[in-house]
Amino acid sequence: MPRNATKPEVSSPASADGGAASMAEPMLPAPYRIQRQRREAHDTFTLDLAAADGGRPPRFAPGQFNMLYLFGVGEVAISISGNPGTPETLQHTTRAVGSVTKAMEKLRAGDVIGVRGPFGTHWPTDHARGKDVVFVAGGIGLAPLRPAMYEILRNRAHYNKAVLLYGTRTPSDILFKRELKQWGGNFDVDVYVTVDRATGTWRGNVGVVTQLIRRSPFDPGNCVAMICGPEVMMKYAVDEFRRRGVDSQDIFLSMERNMKCAIGFCGHCQWGPNFVCKDGPVFRHTDIEHLLNVWEI
């Protein structure tokens, strides 16, 4: 069993066409055309992208990210939110919170953006075989987890229980509502959603998502936890899993840091000795436990 979150055996755009995997190619975006822009919540949208030259997007592993470039505006690191089983459409789900993502929100079908990637480590869907899988997502953190859920549902028989614990601020912030219903209905996933503040007709759970870990149905001795959300939420989620007896080796989380190059050159994403862009974003808890509680590291 490798100690670190494993590097995926997927080809980068550079090596896919046989070229040298030098820095120039991974730094150079490829044009992608927007096929569809879908609103997920008041500030969140999904872009469906296809390679502008009609080629197939490079394969990706759940949890990896791309760098998306908007002409003349800038570039942002966004995790892939689509289905690794249908790689012809590349999906990214983004909150419009910065100058680039706010401008991207205005894009429509037919517009072209630059894409480079995929980069980084992936969720341990192999390591989770034969075990219960517990996803914990906070807000937009569901987007990087969705490809792992797709992969597990595609091979549902290889996994025991699948549990999704999902928290948002309000009911109107809940993403992928149709899929949450499907997963809970047809695919034998235990889906629990909670909100910080109940509004409108909400009759479900109210409270932080980490509280759900205590009472959700999984086997602490034979499970894998995959956590993605705000850093403080992930810390508390880890505490809850540890309290239930889940081994540090079986807990994985996805980190966010400033990224400019995505291949370990620019230095921005350093977190202790790690470059989050290439040693992460998905880390095994054992490897980064000593960094999680250090202020401003």
Binding site: L28, P29, K260, C261, I263, F265
Partner: protein, 374 residues
């Protein structure tokens, strides 16, 4: 070992130029010795030497006529191998189509004249960063592979040097094409010359220099020995890597942050610091755009910005990041220290923060060795 007389020095520069090389070497400008294009020996800082202390740099002229009596200045060779700004690509937009292309720049073939032992180590360290990973940087590779390196052994230690304790100097141990040692005594002024590569040997053959005699070899060895003995500072490297990794919460970080201005001078002057950011811009017509890579520093607030704010808001966490990266996590990432003991970060710190002093204070605060050896 061969001998190049001072009077012959221009023949070395001419030979390099005849090979189509742009010679970059020490030049006095704006009160500091930097690395700039050099055409003849007259451009070199003849007779100039620096006086350096924490937060202080002054040049003084002497009558000895030496070409290389100065020690490390503000410039580093990364300026030529990894330029402060570089265009990564250009994009053009035409009728709903978007295309990207890398610039087809051909950088000059450099001859780097006057590379010190610590700087040879710094270049080797940046080679690891830019060439040894999964994605080698082709622009760096071209500049680096085309560069002819003429090292100069130090005959004098600078006021803030500590290469001896980092085991990176003052004698050049490899990584050069030619290495010179300057000797000016008893009315004679010459350089002993050694080749480190085949390229260097070929140039030596062209110059048709005579072999050094025993007295000349001994004089050159003594000059470098003197520099090693002059070194006033020492980095307490024993256990330092582990100590830094184990003490992110040390009170020392708050203490140094009271003085640190987060000006980023240390990172700009450091010969190994490699961080960069990108600047995206679009032409006024809206048809073309480009991305430039520019040097960046972990001391800026923007460096660690993610949505919601910067990760490292406080000066203490930024200084900790820089020093811990340089002396500890660099080992994890690249298999060596990121510090070569050149002392630039000490000299060019406007408030005179001394990385060796900070390392000693950390050692003393956390049970490590003390300066008095107790």
């Amino acid at each position: 070992m061969h001998v190049l007389e001072r009077a012959q020095f221009d023949t070395l520069l001419e030979a390099l130029q005849q090979h189509g090389r742009q010679v970059i070497g020490p030049v006095r400008r704006d009160g500091v010795i930097g690395y700039e294009p050099v055409r003849s020996a007259g451009d070199l800082p003849v007779g100039w030497a620096d006086e350096q202390e924490a937060g202080r740099y002054r040049l003084h002229h002497k009558d000895h006529g030496r070409l290389f009596d100065y020690t490390a200045g503000f410039h580093t060779w990364k300026r030529y191998l990894y330029p402060p700004t570089a265009v990564l690509w250009q994009a053009s937009r035409d009728n709903g189509r978007l295309s990207f292309e890398t610039p087809s720049e051909t950088p000059p073939k450099f001859a780097l004249l006057g590379v010190r032992a610590c700087e040879l180590h710094a270049i080797a360290i940046q080679d690891k960063v830019f060439l040894d990973g999964a994605h080698p940087d082709p622009a760096y590779a071209v500049r680096r592979n085309n560069a002819f390196i003429i090292a100069v052994n130090c005959g004098r230690a600078g006021g803030t040097c500590f290469c001896a304790s980092m085991e990176t100097g003052p004698r050049a141990q490899g990584g050069y094409d030619l290495a010179l040692t300057e000797v000016a005594e008893d009315g004679r002024h010459y350089f002993t010359v050694e080749a480190g590569t085949k390229k260097g040997e070929r140039l030596l053959d062209e110059l048709e220099l005579r072999e050094a005699i025993e007295a000349e070899r001994a004089a050159a060895a003594a000059a470098v020995e003197a520099a090693a003995n002059q070194m006033g500072r020492q980095m307490p490297v024993d256990g330092l890597r582990e100590l830094l990794a184990a003490n992110p919460e040390s009170p020392r970080w708050e203490a140094v942050a009271k003085r640190c201005l987060c000006c980023a001078n240390c990172t700009m002057a450091c010969p190994t610091c490699f961080c960069s950011t990108v600047h995206d811009s679009a032409a006024m017509t809206g048809e073309t755009a480009k991305r430039e890579r520019v040097w960046d520093s972990c001391f800026t607030m923007e460096f660690s910005y993610v949505h919601g704010g910067s990760v490292r808001k406080d000066a203490s966490s930024r200084y900790r990041q820089w020093m811990t990266h340089k002396l500890s996590s660099w080992h994890d990432q690249f298999g060596s220290s990121g510090c070569v003991g050149c002392g630039r970060c000490i000299t060019w710190c406007p408030v005179g923060i001394d990385i060796t002093e900070e390392a000693w204070l950390l050692q003393e605060a956390h049970g490590g060795p003390t300066r008095t050896g107790e």
